[in-house]
């Protein structure tokens, strides 16, 4: 049940987070548009631009991403979908391990590498997540979190076309995530690489189909709901699930 409540934070917005060649251009556009569109939320100074991009993504999702993900979800048997998700998850674990080391969490980092080793061999190229079954917990790390851990503040909220919710800090993180992405680094054949990236995107999107309906039910203003959820979520993951309670002044 709560799985369904999982925020879009991890999902829709993050789907293509590693493909960023447009980033510098968009950063300039965001800065230009940002100047003329404010609505008073200090965490979201370029709300006008963000809302416009949110609209673009909602349109793309409705017409392309969601229908394809729904088809994927309906057609494929559950073990196949789990296998696909596991294979990409296994590749992610390598980058997660690097980030854990960069954050000084050696034990977690080596546990992540242990996961990759085990799942790539016993788990047959990552198809089966045997590491979780023997108690090597899966972690969630990326370069944005590493920067946060190092003390960099989040900066303004930015909603990117296709990639979705980020902060300025997480946008830089996304840039590094792209270079560290095993799919990009290992697969040099461009059509094969792009197919894998598309498959990963659809696999992720399909996992968040149930969350859609719940968010629609919950949100008064979907844009604000997704934004605030993303910001809360990022704060939470930087503290590995134990952020200090925010001060309540009322």
């Amino acid at each position: 049940m709560a799985a369904a409540r999982r925020s879009e934070v991890d999902g829709v917005e993050n789907l293509l987070r590693r493909r960023v060649s447009l980033l510098p251009v968009l950063a300039v556009v965001a800065l230009l548009l940002g100047g003329c569109a404010t609505s008073g939320n200090p965490k979201d100074p370029i709300e006008g631009f963000n809302r416009a991009m949110f609209g673009v993504n909602e349109g793309l999702d409705k017409v392309i991403f969601k229908p394809v993900a729904t088809g994927y979800d309906v057609v494929l048997p559950s073990p196949v979908k789990t296998g696909v998700a596991n294979v990409f998850g296994n590749l992610d674990d390598a980058v997660i391990g690097v980030n854990n080391l960069l954050q000084g969490k050696g034990k977690d980092g080596f546990s992540d590498f242990g996961r990759v080793l085990l799942n790539s061999t016993v788990g047959i190229f990552g198809l089966f997540d045997v590491a979780t079954q023997i108690g090597l917990e899966k972690h969630d790390e990326d370069f944005g979190q590493t920067f946060g851990r190092w003390g960099m503040g989040p900066g303004a909220y930015v909603y990117w076309p296709v990639f979705g919710s980020r902060t300025v800090r997480d946008s830089f993180g996304m840039f590094l995530d792209w270079y560290a992405d095993p799919v990009v680094a290992v697969v040099h054949d461009v059509p094969a690489r792009n197919s894998l990236i598309a498959l990963r995107f659809i696999s992720h999107r399909a996992q968040f189909l149930p969350a859609d309906k719940v968010i629609e039910e919950a949100a008064l203003d979907k844009y604000a709901y997704v934004r605030d959820g993303y910001l809360q979520r990022r704060r939470n993951v930087i503290y590995d699930g134990n952020p200090p309670r925010e001060k309540e002044d009322f």
Binding site: M1, V9, T82, K213, L220, A224, Y225, N236, E248, F250
Partner: protein, 205 residues
């Protein structure tokens, strides 16, 4: 026969008192298991009957929630400028919204399992966090944490966090924007409008 009825009545009362004094982690575990058992057997809820899910949530889950506290946390500093009457209306509308959301989530239940994390508390504590983990095949498990506060009538949930996102405080900036634009009554009107959409209605308490 009267003595037998007396004993049964006494046992029932006793059970009621015991239920109220359940430790917070036991309470969460019992309610979760009970609700999921029902959902697993109920084809209507699985096929998306929000109506039925709302009845279930109403009967099993709501008695353990403190909606006034939840609303206060979501409305935050604007709460003080609301009259007692407005506070009551806000609470009723926010309750409806949360119940609908929660029920919708239940209808999306597939085959996730719930782990209850180890729980420790000091006997004197009155504000605790109970942590659970939702496992789903092929995806990273999601943290689902409950914040509970001790009340005269037992432990009451006042916040729920999914993957670190509070279902209550996530409304704060939206609510504060609404209040800035249309006052407390503006926020109430927006909530009422939202609650009128959709197919299912939540019984008012």
């Amino acid at each position: 026969m009267k003595w037998l009825l007396g004993i049964i009545a006494a046992l029932c009362l006793n059970a009621g008192a015991l239920a109220q004094e359940l430790a917070p982690d036991v309470l969460i575990k019992n309610v979760t298991n009970e609700v999921l058992d029902i959902v697993r057997k109920d084809k209507e809820i699985q096929s998306g009957s929000t109506r039925k899910a709302i009845d279930l949530v109403d009967a099993k889950v709501l008695p353990h929630f403190n909606f006034t506290r939840m609303t206060q946390l979501a409305v935050a500093r604007d709460w003080r400028q609301a009259s007692p009457e407005q506070q009551k209306t806000l609470t009723a509308e926010f309750r409806t919204l949360l119940v609908r959301t929660y029920s919708k989530a239940l209808t999306e239940y597939k085959n996730q399992t719930v782990d209850f994390k180890p729980f420790k508390m000091q006997p004197a504590e009155t504000d605790v966090k109970v942590r659970t983990l939702i496992n789903q095949p092929g995806a990273k498990p999601i943290d689902l944490d409950y914040y509970l506060e001790k009340q005269p009538n037992g432990w009451k949930v006042y916040d729920i966090e999914v993957g670190g996102v509070s279902l209550v405080t996530n409304y704060r900036s939206e609510f504060s924007t609404q209040v800035r634009q249309g006052g407390i009554d503006g926020l109430i009107a927006t909530l009422q409008k939202k609650n009128k959409t959709g197919e299912a209605t939540v019984p008012k308490k």
